[in-house]
Protein backbone atom coordinates (compact mmCIF):
# COMPACT_ATOMS: atom_id res chain seq x y z
CA UNK A 1 0.00 0.00 0.00
CA UNK A 2 0.99 3.59 -0.50
CA UNK A 3 0.05 5.79 2.43
CA UNK A 4 -1.19 9.33 1.80
CA UNK A 5 -1.10 11.69 4.77
CA UNK A 6 -1.12 15.42 5.57
CA UNK A 7 1.17 16.98 8.17
CA UNK A 8 1.98 20.38 9.61
CA UNK A 9 5.42 21.86 10.26
CA UNK A 10 5.99 19.51 13.20
CA UNK A 11 4.62 16.37 11.53
CA UNK A 12 1.33 16.78 13.38
CA UNK A 13 -1.85 15.24 11.95
CA UNK A 14 -4.67 15.60 14.48
CA UNK A 15 -5.68 17.58 17.53
CA UNK A 16 -8.42 16.31 19.85
CA UNK A 17 -9.52 13.79 17.19
CA UNK A 18 -9.91 16.55 14.59
CA UNK A 19 -7.88 16.91 11.41
CA UNK A 20 -5.61 19.91 11.57
CA UNK A 21 -6.62 21.32 8.21
CA UNK A 22 -8.18 20.61 4.85
CA UNK A 23 -7.99 22.08 1.38
CA UNK A 24 -10.30 21.54 -1.57
CA UNK A 25 -7.47 21.90 -4.10
CA UNK A 26 -5.55 19.18 -2.31
CA UNK A 27 -8.58 16.91 -2.32
CA UNK A 28 -8.85 17.27 -6.11
CA UNK A 29 -5.14 16.70 -6.42
CA UNK A 30 -5.28 13.46 -4.43
CA UNK A 31 -8.15 12.15 -6.54
CA UNK A 32 -6.17 13.00 -9.69
CA UNK A 33 -2.93 11.39 -8.47
CA UNK A 34 -4.69 8.16 -7.54
CA UNK A 35 -7.16 7.87 -10.41
CA UNK A 36 -5.38 4.95 -12.12
CA UNK A 37 -5.75 2.65 -9.14
CA UNK A 38 -7.88 2.21 -6.04
CA UNK A 39 -7.90 4.84 -3.30
CA UNK A 40 -8.98 3.69 0.15
CA UNK A 41 -10.16 5.84 3.04
CA UNK A 42 -12.48 5.61 6.04
CA UNK A 43 -15.78 7.35 6.64
CA UNK A 44 -14.17 10.21 8.55
CA UNK A 45 -12.05 11.12 5.53
CA UNK A 46 -14.83 10.52 3.03
CA UNK A 47 -16.99 13.14 4.78
CA UNK A 48 -14.64 15.92 3.77
CA UNK A 49 -15.01 15.10 0.07
CA UNK A 50 -18.14 17.23 -0.25
CA UNK A 51 -17.59 17.39 -3.98
CA UNK A 52 -18.34 13.67 -4.21
CA UNK A 53 -16.19 10.59 -4.58
CA UNK A 54 -15.30 9.05 -7.94
CA UNK A 55 -15.60 5.33 -8.62
CA UNK A 56 -11.97 4.50 -7.87
CA UNK A 57 -12.49 5.39 -4.20
CA UNK A 58 -13.55 2.74 -1.70
CA UNK A 59 -14.65 3.67 1.80
CA UNK A 60 -14.13 1.17 4.62
CA UNK A 61 -13.25 1.50 8.29
CA UNK A 62 -10.67 -1.30 8.06
CA UNK A 63 -9.23 -0.07 4.78
CA UNK A 64 -5.61 -0.61 5.76
CA UNK A 65 -6.21 -4.32 6.19
CA UNK A 66 -8.04 -4.53 2.87
CA UNK A 67 -5.65 -2.53 0.69
CA UNK A 68 -3.66 -4.55 -1.84
CA UNK A 69 -0.07 -3.82 -2.89
CA UNK A 70 0.15 -0.72 -5.01
CA UNK A 71 -3.16 0.71 -3.80
CA UNK A 72 -3.41 4.10 -2.13
CA UNK A 73 -4.60 4.63 1.45
CA UNK A 74 -5.57 8.14 2.59
CA UNK A 75 -4.94 8.01 6.34
CA UNK A 76 -6.03 10.79 8.66
CA UNK A 77 -7.08 9.26 11.97
CA UNK A 78 -6.07 5.62 11.64
CA UNK A 79 -3.26 3.69 13.28
CA UNK A 80 -0.42 3.36 10.77
CA UNK A 81 2.33 1.70 12.78
CA UNK A 82 0.80 -1.81 12.66
CA UNK A 83 0.94 -1.55 8.86
CA UNK A 84 4.47 -0.23 8.60
CA UNK A 85 5.85 -3.39 6.96
CA UNK A 86 3.13 -3.36 4.32
CA UNK A 87 3.77 0.28 3.49
CA UNK A 88 5.55 0.36 0.14
CA UNK A 89 5.59 4.11 -0.17
CA UNK A 90 4.32 7.37 1.27
CA UNK A 91 2.91 10.51 -0.31
CA UNK A 92 3.20 13.22 2.29
CA UNK A 93 1.46 16.56 1.93
CA UNK A 94 2.89 19.35 4.04
CA UNK A 95 0.59 22.23 4.92
CA UNK A 96 3.59 24.43 5.70
CA UNK A 97 1.73 25.93 8.64
CA UNK A 98 1.62 25.37 12.40
CA UNK A 99 -1.37 23.73 14.03
CA UNK A 100 -1.92 22.17 17.44
CA UNK A 101 -1.18 18.46 17.44
CA UNK A 102 -1.61 15.53 19.79
CA UNK A 103 -1.16 12.91 17.06
CA UNK A 104 1.86 12.97 14.79
CA UNK A 105 2.76 11.02 11.66
CA UNK A 106 4.17 7.81 13.13
CA UNK A 107 6.18 6.26 10.30
CA UNK A 108 9.95 6.71 10.20
CA UNK A 109 10.74 8.56 6.96
CA UNK A 110 14.39 7.58 7.21
CA UNK A 111 13.31 4.06 6.21
CA UNK A 112 12.15 5.45 2.88
CA UNK A 113 13.77 7.30 -0.01
CA UNK A 114 12.50 10.69 -1.10
CA UNK A 115 11.84 10.35 -4.83
CA UNK A 116 10.28 13.70 -5.72
CA UNK A 117 9.05 16.97 -4.31
CA UNK A 118 6.66 19.48 -5.80
CA UNK A 119 4.82 22.52 -4.53
CA UNK A 120 1.47 23.92 -5.50
CA UNK A 121 -0.94 26.51 -4.09
CA UNK A 122 -4.00 25.28 -2.24
CA UNK A 123 -7.32 27.03 -1.88
CA UNK A 124 -6.60 28.25 1.65
CA UNK A 125 -2.91 27.35 1.85
CA UNK A 126 -0.31 29.48 0.17
CA UNK A 127 1.91 26.51 -0.61
CA UNK A 128 1.33 22.79 -0.18
CA UNK A 129 4.37 20.56 -0.58
CA UNK A 130 4.03 17.05 -1.95
CA UNK A 131 6.79 14.59 -1.06
CA UNK A 132 6.83 11.12 -2.62
CA UNK A 133 8.75 8.41 -0.76
CA UNK A 134 9.49 4.83 -1.78
CA UNK A 135 11.18 1.94 -0.01
Amino acid sequence: MIVIACVDNKMGMLFNHCRQSQDRVLRSHILEVTKETRLWMNGYSAKQFKEGLPSHVTVAEDFLSQAAPGEFCFAENTELLPWERQTEGIILYRWNRDYPADTVFPLDLSQFTLQSTQEFPGSSHKTITEEVYTR
Partner: protein
Protein backbone atom coordinates in the same frame (compact mmCIF):
# COMPACT_ATOMS: atom_id res chain seq x y z
CA UNK B 1 -9.69 39.47 43.17
CA UNK B 2 -11.22 36.32 41.91
CA UNK B 3 -8.84 34.08 40.06
CA UNK B 4 -11.58 32.25 38.29
CA UNK B 5 -12.02 32.90 34.61
CA UNK B 6 -15.34 31.16 34.57
CA UNK B 7 -17.22 29.95 37.55
CA UNK B 8 -20.50 28.32 36.77
CA UNK B 9 -21.10 27.84 33.11
CA UNK B 10 -24.70 26.74 32.85
CA UNK B 11 -25.70 23.95 30.53
CA UNK B 12 -23.07 22.46 28.33
CA UNK B 13 -23.74 21.57 24.76
CA UNK B 14 -24.87 18.13 25.77
CA UNK B 15 -26.54 17.15 22.57
CA UNK B 16 -23.83 18.42 20.29
CA UNK B 17 -20.98 17.05 22.32
CA UNK B 18 -22.59 13.65 22.49
CA UNK B 19 -23.02 13.64 18.75
CA UNK B 20 -19.45 14.70 18.17
CA UNK B 21 -18.13 12.01 20.43
CA UNK B 22 -16.87 14.44 23.04
CA UNK B 23 -17.48 13.39 26.60
CA UNK B 24 -19.67 15.66 28.68
CA UNK B 25 -18.58 17.21 31.90
CA UNK B 26 -20.47 19.32 34.37
CA UNK B 27 -17.21 20.57 35.79
CA UNK B 28 -16.70 24.04 34.44
CA UNK B 29 -14.42 25.79 36.86
CA UNK B 30 -11.08 27.04 35.71
CA UNK B 31 -8.75 28.73 38.12
CA UNK B 32 -5.06 29.37 37.95
CA UNK B 33 -4.69 26.96 40.84
CA UNK B 34 -6.03 24.20 38.60
CA UNK B 35 -3.66 24.97 35.73
CA UNK B 36 -0.44 22.98 35.97
CA UNK B 37 2.79 24.94 35.97
CA UNK B 38 4.39 25.41 32.57
CA UNK B 39 6.53 22.38 31.81
CA UNK B 40 7.63 22.79 28.22
CA UNK B 41 4.37 22.63 26.26
CA UNK B 42 2.90 25.91 25.09
CA UNK B 43 -0.62 24.88 26.07
CA UNK B 44 -2.56 22.43 28.22
CA UNK B 45 -6.04 21.02 27.60
CA UNK B 46 -8.76 22.18 29.98
CA UNK B 47 -11.98 20.31 30.79
CA UNK B 48 -11.01 17.45 28.50
CA UNK B 49 -10.79 19.90 25.60
CA UNK B 50 -14.52 20.60 25.79
CA UNK B 51 -15.34 24.31 25.65
CA UNK B 52 -17.67 25.90 28.20
CA UNK B 53 -20.17 27.30 25.70
CA UNK B 54 -23.77 27.07 26.74
CA UNK B 55 -26.70 26.05 24.59
CA UNK B 56 -27.90 29.65 24.60
CA UNK B 57 -24.66 30.74 22.98
CA UNK B 58 -25.12 28.46 19.97
CA UNK B 59 -25.57 30.50 16.84
CA UNK B 60 -24.62 30.54 13.20
CA UNK B 61 -25.03 34.31 13.09
CA UNK B 62 -21.65 35.94 12.97
CA UNK B 63 -20.88 38.36 15.79
CA UNK B 64 -17.95 39.84 17.69
CA UNK B 65 -17.91 40.97 21.33
CA UNK B 66 -14.81 42.58 22.76
CA UNK B 67 -16.03 43.58 26.22
CA UNK B 68 -14.46 46.49 28.09
CA UNK B 69 -11.14 47.21 29.73
CA UNK B 70 -11.21 46.93 33.52
CA UNK B 71 -10.06 49.50 36.08
CA UNK B 72 -6.46 48.41 35.53
CA UNK B 73 -6.83 48.82 31.76
CA UNK B 74 -6.81 45.07 31.29
CA UNK B 75 -8.65 43.16 28.63
CA UNK B 76 -11.42 40.78 29.57
CA UNK B 77 -13.20 37.96 27.80
CA UNK B 78 -13.69 38.37 24.05
CA UNK B 79 -15.86 36.16 21.90
CA UNK B 80 -17.09 35.76 18.37
CA UNK B 81 -18.99 33.54 16.04
CA UNK B 82 -16.33 33.38 13.35
CA UNK B 83 -17.45 33.00 9.77
CA UNK B 84 -16.43 34.15 6.33
CA UNK B 85 -18.40 37.30 7.17
CA UNK B 86 -16.01 38.25 9.98
CA UNK B 87 -12.76 37.54 8.16
CA UNK B 88 -10.55 40.44 7.08
CA UNK B 89 -10.89 42.02 3.69
CA UNK B 90 -7.97 44.42 4.10
CA UNK B 91 -4.31 44.13 5.00
CA UNK B 92 -3.31 44.52 8.64
CA UNK B 93 -2.44 48.02 9.78
CA UNK B 94 -0.14 49.32 12.46
CA UNK B 95 -0.92 48.55 16.10
CA UNK B 96 2.16 50.13 17.64
CA UNK B 97 0.21 52.95 19.26
CA UNK B 98 -1.73 50.56 21.52
CA UNK B 99 -0.13 50.01 24.94
CA UNK B 100 -1.79 47.02 26.62
CA UNK B 101 -1.60 46.69 30.41
CA UNK B 102 1.90 45.75 31.57
CA UNK B 103 3.42 46.75 28.26
CA UNK B 104 7.22 46.96 28.30
CA UNK B 105 9.76 46.98 25.52
CA UNK B 106 12.33 44.28 26.24
CA UNK B 107 14.75 42.56 23.89
CA UNK B 108 16.57 39.26 24.35
CA UNK B 109 18.81 37.31 21.98
CA UNK B 110 17.07 34.10 22.95
CA UNK B 111 13.70 35.35 21.66
CA UNK B 112 12.70 34.88 18.04
CA UNK B 113 12.72 38.41 16.63
CA UNK B 114 14.42 39.65 19.85
CA UNK B 115 11.35 41.38 21.31
CA UNK B 116 9.95 39.59 24.35
CA UNK B 117 6.48 41.08 24.12
CA UNK B 118 4.04 41.25 21.26
CA UNK B 119 0.79 43.13 21.19
CA UNK B 120 -1.07 39.90 21.17
CA UNK B 121 -4.54 39.75 19.55
CA UNK B 122 -6.97 37.78 21.69
CA UNK B 123 -9.06 37.02 18.62
CA UNK B 124 -6.52 36.78 15.82
CA UNK B 125 -6.66 39.27 12.98
CA UNK B 126 -7.12 36.45 10.49
CA UNK B 127 -10.42 35.51 12.16
CA UNK B 128 -12.21 38.82 12.61
CA UNK B 129 -10.01 41.44 10.96
CA UNK B 130 -9.88 43.40 14.21
CA UNK B 131 -6.61 45.27 14.13
CA UNK B 132 -5.86 47.90 16.73
CA UNK B 133 -8.75 47.55 19.18
CA UNK B 134 -7.35 47.97 22.71
CA UNK B 135 -9.94 45.57 24.13
CA UNK B 136 -8.49 42.82 21.93
CA UNK B 137 -4.77 43.31 22.58
CA UNK B 138 -2.79 42.04 25.55
CA UNK B 139 0.86 42.04 26.47
CA UNK B 140 1.87 38.56 25.38
CA UNK B 141 5.22 36.91 24.92
CA UNK B 142 6.43 36.00 21.47
CA UNK B 143 6.10 32.38 22.58
CA UNK B 144 2.45 32.81 23.57
CA UNK B 145 1.68 34.54 20.31
CA UNK B 146 3.47 32.22 17.89
CA UNK B 147 3.76 28.86 19.63
CA UNK B 148 0.69 29.07 21.82
CA UNK B 149 -2.17 30.89 20.13
CA UNK B 150 -1.37 31.04 16.41
CA UNK B 151 -1.65 27.28 15.72
CA UNK B 152 -5.20 27.25 17.12
CA UNK B 153 -6.14 30.35 15.14
CA UNK B 154 -4.77 28.69 11.99
CA UNK B 155 -6.88 25.59 12.59
CA UNK B 156 -10.04 27.65 12.95
CA UNK B 157 -9.25 29.94 10.02
CA UNK B 158 -8.61 27.05 7.63
CA UNK B 159 -11.83 25.32 8.63
CA UNK B 160 -13.95 28.43 8.12
CA UNK B 161 -12.31 29.26 4.81
CA UNK B 162 -12.70 25.74 3.47
CA UNK B 163 -16.25 25.05 4.63
CA UNK B 164 -17.93 28.44 5.00
CA UNK B 165 -19.17 27.17 8.36
CA UNK B 166 -19.05 29.03 11.68
CA UNK B 167 -16.97 28.55 14.81
CA UNK B 168 -17.92 29.77 18.26
CA UNK B 169 -14.72 31.22 19.60
CA UNK B 170 -13.82 32.73 22.95
CA UNK B 171 -10.53 33.88 24.43
CA UNK B 172 -10.19 34.86 28.08
CA UNK B 173 -6.98 36.34 29.46
CA UNK B 174 -6.39 35.10 32.99
CA UNK B 175 -4.71 37.45 35.43
CA UNK B 176 -3.53 36.63 38.92
CA UNK B 177 -4.95 39.24 41.30
CA UNK B 178 -4.07 42.72 40.13
CA UNK B 179 -1.26 41.65 37.83
CA UNK B 180 -1.01 43.72 34.69
CA UNK B 181 0.27 40.85 32.54
CA UNK B 182 -1.88 37.76 32.05
CA UNK B 183 -0.58 34.37 33.13
CA UNK B 184 -2.08 32.98 29.96
CA UNK B 185 -5.24 32.81 27.91
CA UNK B 186 -8.06 30.30 27.82
CA UNK B 187 -9.00 29.53 24.21
CA UNK B 188 -12.30 27.81 23.45
CA UNK B 189 -13.67 26.90 20.03
CA UNK B 190 -16.51 24.79 18.65
CA UNK B 191 -17.66 24.37 15.07
CA UNK B 192 -21.38 25.02 15.01
CA UNK B 193 -22.82 23.49 11.83
CA UNK B 194 -21.09 20.11 12.32
CA UNK B 195 -21.57 20.18 16.11
CA UNK B 196 -17.93 20.17 17.09
CA UNK B 197 -16.92 17.43 14.69
CA UNK B 198 -14.19 19.51 13.06
CA UNK B 199 -13.26 22.07 15.70
CA UNK B 200 -13.53 21.35 19.41
CA UNK B 201 -10.94 22.58 21.87
CA UNK B 202 -10.53 24.21 25.25
CA UNK B 203 -6.92 25.01 26.08
CA UNK B 204 -4.89 27.26 28.34
CA UNK B 205 -1.92 28.83 26.55
CA UNK B 206 0.91 29.91 28.80
CA UNK B 207 2.15 33.50 28.63
CA UNK B 208 5.75 32.50 29.20
CA UNK B 209 8.98 32.82 27.29
CA UNK B 210 11.54 30.03 27.67
CA UNK B 211 14.78 31.49 29.00
CA UNK B 212 13.16 34.62 30.40
CA UNK B 213 11.55 35.32 33.76
CA UNK B 214 8.62 37.70 33.99
CA UNK B 215 7.17 39.76 36.83
CA UNK B 216 3.50 39.48 35.91
CA UNK B 217 2.56 42.31 38.28
CA UNK B 218 4.45 44.86 36.22
CA UNK B 219 5.68 43.21 33.02
CA UNK B 220 9.33 43.58 34.00
CA UNK B 221 11.56 40.75 32.83
CA UNK B 222 15.06 39.36 33.09
CA UNK B 223 17.07 36.44 31.76
CA UNK B 224 16.74 33.21 33.70
CA UNK B 225 19.64 32.85 36.09
CA UNK B 226 20.12 36.58 36.44
CA UNK B 227 18.94 38.56 39.41
CA UNK B 228 15.53 40.10 39.10
CA UNK B 229 15.52 43.89 38.79
CA UNK B 230 15.10 45.83 42.02
CA UNK B 231 11.51 45.47 43.05
CA UNK B 232 9.62 48.52 41.95
CA UNK B 233 6.49 49.83 43.56
CA UNK B 234 3.57 47.88 42.27
CA UNK B 235 1.04 49.79 40.24
CA UNK B 236 -2.00 50.66 42.33
CA UNK B 237 -5.05 52.74 41.68
CA UNK B 238 -5.37 55.87 43.78
CA UNK B 239 -8.02 58.57 43.69
CA UNK B 240 -6.62 62.09 43.64
CA UNK B 241 -8.55 65.12 44.91
CA UNK B 242 -7.42 67.80 42.48
CA UNK B 243 -8.76 70.49 44.75
CA UNK B 244 -7.19 69.50 48.07
CA UNK B 245 -4.22 67.81 46.35
CA UNK B 246 -4.60 64.76 48.55
CA UNK B 247 -4.73 61.21 47.30
CA UNK B 248 -6.78 58.32 48.66
CA UNK B 249 -7.20 54.60 48.48
CA UNK B 250 -9.92 53.81 45.94
CA UNK B 251 -12.08 52.47 48.77
CA UNK B 252 -11.67 55.52 51.03
CA UNK B 253 -14.96 57.18 51.95
CA UNK B 254 -13.56 60.58 51.00
CA UNK B 255 -12.68 59.30 47.54
CA UNK B 256 -16.16 57.94 46.99
CA UNK B 257 -17.72 61.32 47.76
CA UNK B 258 -15.47 63.26 45.40
CA UNK B 259 -17.16 65.27 42.68
CA UNK B 260 -16.27 64.26 39.14
CA UNK B 261 -14.59 67.60 38.44
CA UNK B 262 -12.16 67.17 41.31
CA UNK B 263 -11.58 63.47 40.90
CA UNK B 264 -8.65 61.84 39.09
CA UNK B 265 -8.04 58.09 39.01
CA UNK B 266 -4.31 57.50 39.05
CA UNK B 267 -2.51 54.22 38.34
CA UNK B 268 1.03 54.16 39.65
CA UNK B 269 3.07 54.25 42.79
CA UNK B 270 2.57 56.17 46.03
CA UNK B 271 6.06 57.62 45.67
CA UNK B 272 5.27 59.03 42.24
CA UNK B 273 2.22 60.85 43.57
CA UNK B 274 4.16 62.34 46.48
CA UNK B 275 6.89 63.40 44.06
CA UNK B 276 4.21 65.20 42.07
CA UNK B 277 3.23 67.23 45.12
CA UNK B 278 0.22 65.29 46.39
CA UNK B 279 -0.22 64.36 50.05
CA UNK B 280 -1.59 61.04 51.33
CA UNK B 281 -4.99 61.16 52.98
CA UNK B 282 -4.68 61.16 56.78
CA UNK B 283 -7.68 58.90 57.12
CA UNK B 284 -7.07 55.99 54.77
CA UNK B 285 -3.28 56.47 54.87
CA UNK B 286 -2.55 55.18 51.34
Amino acid sequence: MKRYCRLLAPLLLLFGFLLSGCSVSTESVVSLDAIPAYSGDSYVAVNGNIPFFTEEELTTTAYEDYGELDYLNRCGEVSACVGLETMPTEERGSIGHVKPSGWQTAKYDCVDGKYLYNRCHLIGFQLTGENARAENLITGTRYLNVDGMLPFENMVADYVQETGNHVLYRVTPIFDGEDLVAQGVLMEAWSVEDEGDAICFNVFCYNVQPGVSIDYATGESWLNGEESPPSSESTTMYVVNLSSEKFHEATCGSAEKLAEDNRLEYFGSREDLIAQGYDPCGSCKP
